[in-house]
């Protein structure tokens, strides 16, 4: 397709909005915009982090998903109880692919679904007694766990349970950290508040646990925040940081442990990958412990190199030299990858609709491959995310917030991208439409995508999906003939 003009893009948005009833139309209009790089503050042109319109097909999740699914779930030595009815724990099990190394059921608990499976009597009489008993049972069966988190599902907040009191009491009894998390699904408007609530719970119950304890630190101690080790992302990032001479004291929270989190206030610099889900705790540590934080981006060699240098600039020359050494080491391999895949992907257009950081963070990786992002949007971003995104996107590209199934499909029909990066709920509709698609939440069962090693997989995956022969078979040959015959007639 040809480049859209600003006017054409705006007209497209208006056309798509036509179908809505007046109120919904007015509301949705505020969430769709044509990018204008001259604007500094996204607030002037896009609204975000507002309630989804009832009855339209939002792709958003809930606070529980943001807390249990995103932040807490990957911490491997803490048991997360899905406290409430049976569904939530099952629906959030395993789909995220946050990898861990450990012995499941003994010292690691990420892939197990623990739930209080609320019954009607628990709703009527309250679930606190059940919770207390459940914690005893956990302790009996999983003695090596380091702690327990109570992840509240919707009913907990509605029936007046006091999970904080139960947690406090049982924590004293069993001598382990127990963290009550008020992440009921009805709180907030998306996963986002769940991240915030989860961060606050870390702040209140974990972060200052070792304030008085000694820690053998080095000048090169850092922590990785906001990397959930999807398909091993955090490992592929850690390896680079270690190679440049840094000591990674903690991973939050992919393959993370309670000890790592408790030791984080001792580091010299917090490295923040997913800004949306962990900026809260980074800001808290900055204020309380004076630890600066730095947003970085480990997608694609250009951004990785830029980030490595940025990170190194906070340290002495040994680290700065380390960063250069790492970049130099990987450059030939990266060049070879680009040499192979860029000719196959050059000029391909991409539309993204993902969660908290990827719609902006992956742009550089696509550009490294010669691809161009013509539309980007977030399920649960805030305006600070859009501020950052507008700078990365070209002029007259589309930006969409909490896009509805209908809007996204229409945008795709009109803009005809060569690749869509989004989630599983969106995936199969686009398969029917014949648009190459990669899941960008779970890396479509592949990964890692972070780091230099990850970029190799990213490039391979984008190529295999964009260029797979299956997309060419959607039209039966006899229908193709009919179509061209019709064209002839029309001419």
């Amino acid at each position: 397709m040809t480049e859209l003009t600003r006017e054409a893009a705006q007209a497209l948005i208006e056309e798509v909005l036509e179908v809505y009833p007046e109120k919904a139309k007015k509301d949705r209009a505020k969430h769709l915009m044509v990018n204008d790089k001259t604007i500094e503050q996204s607030k002037k042109c896009i609204t975000s982090n507002r309630k989804s319109v009832p009855g339209v097909m939002t792709q958003r999740g809930c606070a529980y998903a943001g807390s249990k699914g995103v932040v807490w779930g990957p911490i491997k030595d803490i048991i997360d109880i899905s406290h409430g009815p049976v569904g939530c724990g099952a629906y959030s099990r395993g789909g995220r692919r946050n990898y861990y190394a450990g012995t499941s059921g003994v010292d690691s608990f990420c892939d197990i679904n623990f739930t209080s499976d609320f019954q009607e009597k628990d709703i009527v009489f309250g679930g606190d007694k059940k919770l207390a008993k459940l914690i005893d049972e956990l302790e009996g069966l999983f003695p090596l766990s380091k702690g327990i988190s109570v992840q509240s599902e919707c009913p907990v907040g509605l029936i007046g349970d006091d999970i904080e009191a139960v947690s406090k009491k049982k924590a004293a009894e069993i001598g382990k950290t127990i963290i009550p998390v008020r992440c009921e699904g009805f709180r907030g408007v998306s996963q986002s508040l769940g991240h915030h609530i989860a961060n606050d719970a870390v702040r209140d119950w974990i972060i200052s646990n070792r304030d008085d304890q000694a820690f053998e630190s080095t000048p090169y101690d850092v922590a990785i925040l906001g990397d959930y080790n999807i398909g091993g992302d955090a490992w592929a990032s850690r390896i680079l940081l270690e190679e440049m001479g840094l000591r990674v004291v903690a991973q939050w929270s992919g393959d993370g442990t309670l000890a790592e989190m408790e030791n984080t206030p001792k580091v010299k610099l917090n490295l923040l990958h997913c800004y949306r889900s962990m900026n809260y705790i980074a800001r808290h540590m900055e204020e309380k412990y004076g630890i600066p934080w730095l947003e970085y981006n480990f997608f694609g060699p250009s951004k990785i190199a830029e980030s490595l240098r940025d990170i190194a600039s906070h340290f002495d020359d040994t680290i700065k030299e380390g960063a250069e050494r790492v970049i130099e080491k990987y450059t030939p391999a990266m060049n070879a990858i680009i040499a192979k895949y860029k000719p196959r992907l050059q000029g391909k257009k991409v539309m993204l609709y993902v969660g908290g950081l990827r719609p902006r963070h992956t742009i550089g990786a696509y550009e490294d491959l010669g691809m161009e992002v013509i539309g980007a949007g977030y399920e649960f971003a805030h305006n600070d995310d859009y501020d950052r995104t507008m700078k990365e996107m070209k002029d007259a590209t589309l930006i969409y917030d909490d896009v509805t199934g209908y809007e996204f499909e229409e945008f795709v029909r009109k803009l005809k991208p060569d690749l869509i990066g989004s989630g599983i709920k969106e995936k199969y509709a686009f398969h029917k439409m014949g648009v190459p698609f990669r899941q960008l939440h779970s890396w479509d069962y592949s990964g890692p995508y972070h780091g230099f090693d990850g970029f190799a997989v990213f490039a391979r995956d984008m190529d295999m999906t964009v260029n797979n022969p299956c997309w060419g078979m959607l039209k039966a040959p006899w229908l193709k003939e009919e179509a061209s015959a019709d064209d002839l007639k029309a001419a």
Partner: protein
């Protein structure tokens, strides 16, 4: 380090020495991990009878449940009707989860909508959400029907769904006669199969309850089929085919076969196929209604018997030879149509397969888990093959199921040693697989971690998983298969036999060690 010629994804990338080293160092330096010995000792303890006894004392804690919540079932039911949009009154996160769960199983787009209740709705009730939501939904999705079920937030605060929808009509948010059947599907009662039953009752009662005048049982000369929570697409197809071959006119009440299997042809269809409203309205005129999952459809059955005055035949799920015989004979009996030669031949072919394969299956011990009727049918098939079910775990069981299961097991010498575990979960099953090892475990993808855990104890303890049931996330396209009827029997015999043979190859493929019995012929 990656090279362009050999780019490695997670596996085997993280098996490379540099990553093994990285993971090991992280563990030793920063995780404050427990000693290897202690972990080994504790793992070994989790495989013991002592641990099992402790495990079975659980009263409050559920670990790895083999069931999910009601609205998921309600949503699947709603999908089975023509141009029906499933609308879920409650939190939007639930709906994202339901869609995702089905996306992963069917590898298909799933269109459900939510009315996104948030904190203020939790305080003031969800009426505003229902009104605005229904207005948008009717305008946007070109639906002929909107089927409403609920999540637990709406149930806990006691939203009056009927009144909300009534008011939405009165206040003009939706047209007065637009069909909006609904059901309460509280997540803290029953499971997904209960939700299916509730939604079904909600839909059929909405269209027939007040219009029973003039309805005459048998007047349309059809039979009704009610599938229940059914996720094998082949099962819809096989029942239809058998009835067609019998020349029996039927109405499938709830038929998501098409919408869950649309072609990739350049257009996304949100709706396809499904039972029409006219068919539902006409359903009381049928000769009778057959329930394919009889122990899980209590509420629907009660409605059909009470309001439609159908004599719902006492049948089992038509799985295996004899229960398919029984099903076809019942269809023949109520319609007067003979069972045709073609089905007799198909039956013979299934039995032929059983005679061919029995030697590999006879006496094999299998532990099973899944939904109640599926387990009954599967057990029946196993008993017909001389397989011995050992541990049967049903997380969402009920008394009817227990009774029926006991009767079935007692009927066969291969069933007498089986034990039933109603209400138990897959952590119970894990213990059972250690303390009384079966040859295989049969069930959904969730059995996978049991296979891994048992293998961790040692290769001789591994219990391989045979994937049958719902959900199956980690193998492709199995949802298209068939488990009902003679055809379903063929799939089951094939699956079970080849699982046994694959396993045998895995155990015997070591040259100059165990490669006797590693045969070309079997």
């Amino acid at each position: 380090m990656q090279t362009v010629e050999d780019t490695k994804p997670c596996f085997p990338l993280f098996n490379e020495p540099e990553y093994r080293e990285l993971i090991k160092n992280k563990r030793e330096q920063f995780e404050e991990t427990i000693s290897k010995e202690k972990i080994a000792e504790t793992f070994a303890w989790t495989t013991t009878q002592e641990y099992q006894d402790l495990n079975f004392k659980r009263e409050a804690l559920t670990i790895n449940p083999a069931k999910v919540c009601q609205p998921l079932g309600g949503a699947l039911c709603g999908m089975g009707f023509e141009k029906t949009m499933v609308y879920i009154h409650g939190s939007q996160g639930c709906v994202a989860y339901f869609r995702t769960y089905f996306n992963r199983h069917f590898k298909e787009p799933i269109a459900f909508i939510a009315d996104s209740m948030t904190e203020d709705a939790a305080v003031f009730g969800g009426q505003k959400n229902v009104h605005e939501g229904l207005q948008n939904a009717t305008k946007l999705y070109d639906a002929k029907m909107i089927a409403v079920c609920t999540t637990c937030i709406a149930e806990v605060i006691g939203d009056d769904l009927g009144a909300f929808i009534g008011n939405a009509r009165k206040e003009g948010h939706v047209e007065k006669d637009f069909p909006i059947p609904y059901a309460n599907t509280p997540s803290f009662v029953g499971s997904h199969i209960t939700g299916w039953d509730n939604m079904f009752e909600g839909i059929v009662s909405y269209f027939t309850q007040t219009t029973m005048d003039g309805k005459v049982v048998g007047s349309n000369k059809k039979i009704n089929i009610v599938p229940g929570f059914e996720t094998y697409l082949g099962n819809y197809r096989v029942i239809k085919r058998m009835l067609k071959e019998m020349d029996v006119d039927y109405t499938f009440l709830c038929d998501p076969e098409e919408v869950l299997d649309t072609p990739a042809n350049g257009e996304y269809q949100m709706y396809a196929g499904g039972t029409t409203i006219d068919e539902v309205k006409d359903a009381p005129n049928a000769i009778t209604t057959l329930m394919l999952q009889p122990t899980s459809l209590e509420k629907s059955k009660k409605f059909i018997e009470g309001t439609w005055n159908h004599e719902v035949p006492k049948l089992n799920i038509p799985m295996g030879v004899e229960w398919t015989d029984e099903f076809l004979m019942k269809v023949s009996e109520v319609t007067g149509k003979p069972i045709p030669e073609s089905l007799l031949k198909e039956r013979g072919r299934l039995v032929d397969m059983m005679t061919d394969s029995h030697a590999w299956l006879h006496g094999k011990k299998m532990a099973l888990f899944g939904d109640p009727d599926f387990l009954l049918g599967l057990t029946k098939v196993l008993l017909e093959l001389g397989v011995e079910p050992t541990h049967i775990v049903c997380n969402n069981s009920n008394k009817r199921w227990e009774k029926a299961m006991k009767k079935l097991l007692e009927s066969s010498p291969y069933g007498v040693h089986a034990k039933l575990y109603p209400g138990c979960d897959l952590w119970h099953m894990r213990s059972l697989c250690f303390t009384d090892k079966p040859d295989f475990i049969v069930g959904s993808t969730y059995g996978k971690t049991i296979q891994r855990d048992t293998l961790y104890k040692g290769p001789e303890f591994e219990v391989p998983l045979i994937r049958l049931g719902f959900p199956i996330f980690d193998r492709h396209h199995l949802h298209r298969m068939t488990t009902l009827g003679y055809e379903g029997g063929m799939y089951l015999v094939t699956t079970l036999t080849n699982a046994v043979l694959e396993r045998l190859d895995e155990k015997t493929k070591f040259m100059n060690h165990t490669d006797y019995n590693f045969d070309i012929v079997r």
